[in-house]
Symmetry: C2
Subunit: 167 residues, 2 copies
């Protein structure tokens, strides 16, 4: 078998390689400098350490929510379950529509908390690393809650999935 090789300049091949990686779906929320709720779906969420409890995610600095993340201290990180697909679609839809509805409430520090997620955590932003036109954000978890224990929501090949155990 000969693999199909590609070079670093081949953007499509790079994207295709990452389409072979599946990721859990998280939603990051915050308040912008005008106090409006902002949020977006992220597939880059990872645990960085348990002591102290640190989580990391990344975003393009051209994203509509970057200005809020750059200027706020606190974010909420939500783990989505396979029952939360409508929530994922809402939070990845048009920015003006993401908080229209009864799917969230105001949490600690006024940060929007989504209802019915499998877990949420309030984090204080401790690092914002700029790399090229992106940023890696590190948040230290200050509190959180566990919600209904449904299977995690996955994003793979531009569609939502749930995990099935391997035999």
């Amino acid at each position: 078998m000969t693999d199909a090789t590609f070079t670093g300049g081949d953007v499509e091949a790079f994207k295709q390689a990452f389409r072979r990686h599946a990721a859990g779906v998280a939603v990051i929320t915050a308040r912008d400098t005008d106090g409006r709720p902002v949020g977006f779906t992220a597939t880059s969420l990872a645990s960085l350490a348990a002591v102290p409890p640190l989580a990391t995610f990344s975003t393009a600095r051209s994203a509509s929510t970057w200005h809020a993340l750059e200027n706020t201290d606190h974010v909420a990180i939500h783990m989505l379950g396979s029952d939360n697909r409508v929530l994922a679609e809402k939070l990845s839809g048009h920015a003006d529509d993401r908080f229209v509805g009864e799917h969230w409430h105001e949490g600690p520090h006024g940060v929007p908390i989504l209802n019915g997620v499998t877990a949420w955590m309030l984090g204080r932003i401790v690092e914002r690393f700029h790399v090229a036109a992106s940023a890696i954000v590190v948040a230290q978890i200050e509190e959180g809650a566990l919600g209904p224990d449904s299977a995690p929501l996955l994003y793979h090949e531009r569609a939502y999935h749930a995990p099935r155990p391997l035999a």
Copy 2:
């Protein structure tokens, strides 16, 4: 419904929240300062940007492979498929046994490349951000290859899974 709340000092709750997140399984490999192949499974791999092609992953700086990552320029990042479970188990087993066998070959810059993965990418390390006792590594992709197109391997609730499309 009242969610079960927790505080930032509750390590078990933090871990439980992250167990509700599923992640794709990647393997990172490199050569250590003595030229020996090293590698580990990572669930923190994410695409950071496509132009330039940047990938990020994190690790504890107490990990046996950190010394190699701190002292080398190049790493290989492998996406694992559901057919690669044995490979995942091997690369998360005892450090001395991870490269005993015919499951890898020498790639560009001498970096170990695992055979039969769904994709691999050679990256030049461009950033190492230290946060508490962990590090976030950013690599710029210089070349790579797409292998067999099997479903991605997932890690969730301390077991391997594959994705199933949501109806």
